[in-house]
Amino acid sequence: MRACSVAERAGVSSYAIVSTGFLKQARAIARAVGISSAWIAEYPGVVPNDSAEVVERKVLEHVLPSLLQGFATPAEALQEVAEPGPSDVVFKGALDEVQEHFTERLWTDGLPIVPPTQNRVEAFLRWTDRDALEVIGVLPPEQREATVWNVAVNGVMAGCRPEYFPILLAAVEAIADPEFRLEDAGATPGWEPLIILSGPLSKRLHFNSEGGALRIGRQANSSIGRFLRLYMRNVAGLRTPPGDTDKAAIGMNFNVVLAENEDAVTRIGWPPFRVDRGFSMADDVVTVQSVVAISPHIYSGGSSALEHIEPIVRFMEGVMGPVSPVAITYRRSHPLIVMSPSVAQAFADGGWDKDAIRSYLFEHLTIDAGWVERYPLHASGASTSLATMVRERGLPAHYAESDDPRRRLPILIRPEWTSIVLAGEPGRNQCRVYVQQHEQGAPVSKKVRLAADAEVLRAPAVQEPEASTEATPTLHR
C-alpha cells in the first residue's frame, strides 16, 4: 500500500492485488496513509501454496474481474474522524472499568494496565527537560505522532517507574529512526524488538544483567520491555487480531530489556557495547533491534578459544542458516550473541577479543547455495537462481561465480555487524544467539538524555541488595 499511496499522491489511480489473509491489513494501512480510495482486488487463498495453473485460474476468475470493476467505480473520499487531544480525559471509572474501556478499544496488550492519570504522567515528565508536546517522530503504519507526553502515558500504563522515563524516550527515538524500518514491524515473520542498555544507568536503576537476564522478573527489565510493545500497539498502530495491522503469522512475546554486565566487560578488558556502537564510556545508550529467532542455550567448554568457538559456530549456523537467503537478498544481518562472562573470560584468556570472534564467525558460517535458491519458493512462492538475483536484483557478482548448488556461501554479510553483549549467569558457560531480521529492525542506538538536574541518576550506583522481601525504593523528584 505504500506504493499505492505514492501513486495516488502523484495523481495516478492505484489498484492493489492482496491475498485474502491480508485484506484487512491493506484496508487499515490504506486508511492510515490517507488513500482509502485505493482499489483492492482480492487474490483468494495463500499464494505460495498454489500451482501455476491454480494461480492463473484464480487471477482470471477473481482478480481480473475485481480490477475491471475497480476501473469503472468512482473513488470515494476519506472521511476524517475527530480524536481527543493529548491530555484530554477520555474516561473516568474504577480500576476494572478502566481496564474494560481500554481493552475494548485495543489500547492494552491483554494485561492489566496502570491507569494513566494526569498526575501519574506528570510524575514521569519531571524526569526530562524536554517539552511534553515535543514530537519525536511520526510512526507507521498509523502515522501518529510519538510525543514526550504519550511516551509517558504508555510508560505509566506499562508499569514503569518515573525514573525510567529517559530510557523510554531513547527507545522511542530508536524505533522512530527511519533506519529501524518500523513500517516492517507488522510483517508475517513476527519479529520482536529487543532493547539493549549499555551504561552506568543499568546499575543505578537496578537492571538485571546476570542470571535470568532475559527472563521476566526484574521491574526495570520487564516493564520497559513491555512498554515498547505497548507503545508499538498504541502509537504505531501495530495490533494483532482483532486489530488489522500486525500480520505476525505466529509472533513472539515482548522481550525484556537486555542490560549489559558492565562490571564483567570492564574486568575482562573488552569495550562495552556502547563503545562498539560508537559512543563513549560515560554515555548511557539504548539500542533497539529486531529479533526473529533465538538459538537454544549454547554451552561451550575447554581451555582454548577454538574449543569455545566451535559450538557457537554450530548453533549459530543452525539457527541463522535457514533464514540466511533473505539476509543475503537484502544484504543486511545483525546477529547478537549474548555471552556469559565466563565464556568471554575464556576467549580473553586465549587472546581473543570481540573482533577476533567476529572474524572467525564471518569466515566459518556458511550455507549451501542450493538452499539460498530454493528458500524463496517457501517464503514467497517462487525459487530464484543466484544468477538471476545478480543480473536483476543487484546481488554482488561473486554469489553466482558457480552454479554448483553445493558450494558454500557466507551467511554473515559483514563481520563487524555481529554484536556481542555480556550478560547472563556468570557461573555458567552459556551463550545464546539472537537472530535479527535483515533490514527490518536494523540496530539503532540512541544516547539516553538525562534532565540537567537529575543528579540522582548520575550518582554512583549503590551495591546491589541481597535478596529481600522489601520493595525497591522509589527515586523521588
Partner: protein, 123 residues
C-alpha cells in the same frame, strides 16, 4: 447449550458483579498520538479501458510476474487499445533499495505517462 459469550462479555459480567462504588475513580488520558494522516483526494476512475495506459508495479514476490502476465494478456484481448508498461520499468518496491525505488515512483509513472497502476502482491 453452547455458550456464545465473547471474552468481553465475560469481562463485563464480571465487572458488573463487583461493587465498585467504594473504589477510587481514575480520570485517564488518551494513550494514542495525534494522527498526521491527510486524506488524498481520490483520483478519477471510470475512464474507458481502451484508452488507458496501465503500469504494473511489483514487489518481486508471490508470483506477481505470472499474475501480471495473465492480467496483461486478458486486458489486451478485451481492450485492444489499452497500453501496458511492464514492472521492470519501475523497479522492485520490496528490495534492498525499496525506499529509493518507491521515492522515484512518481517520476517514473509520469515519464511513462501511466493513467493507472496495478500493484502487487500483498500476501
Amino acid at each position: 447449550m453452547a455458550c456464545r459469550c465473547t471474552a468481553l462479555d465475560f469481562a463485563r459480567a464480571n465487572a458488573r458483579g463487583i461493587d465498585v462504588s467504594e473504589e477510587p475513580q481514575y480520570e485517564v488520558v488518551w494513550p494514542l498520538g495525534r494522527s498526521t494522516t491527510r486524506a488524498v483526494a481520490p483520483n478519477t476512475r471510470g475512464a474507458d479501458p481502451q484508452r488507458l495506459k496501465v503500469g504494473f508495479v511489483w514487489d518481486y514476490l508471490f508470483k506477481g510476474d505470472q499474475m501480471f502476465a495473465t492480467i496483461g494478456q486478458a486486458l489486451r484481448h478485451r481492450f485492444p487499445g489499452v497500453e501496458l508498461v511492464d514492472y521492470s520499468a519501475f523497479g522492485n518496491i520490496h528490495g534492498h533499495d525499496e525506499r529509493a525505488v518507491v521515492a522515484a515512483l512518481p517520476e517514473r509513472l509520469r515519464s511513462e505517462g501511466v493513467d493507472a497502476v496495478i500493484v502487487g502482491v500483498g500476501a
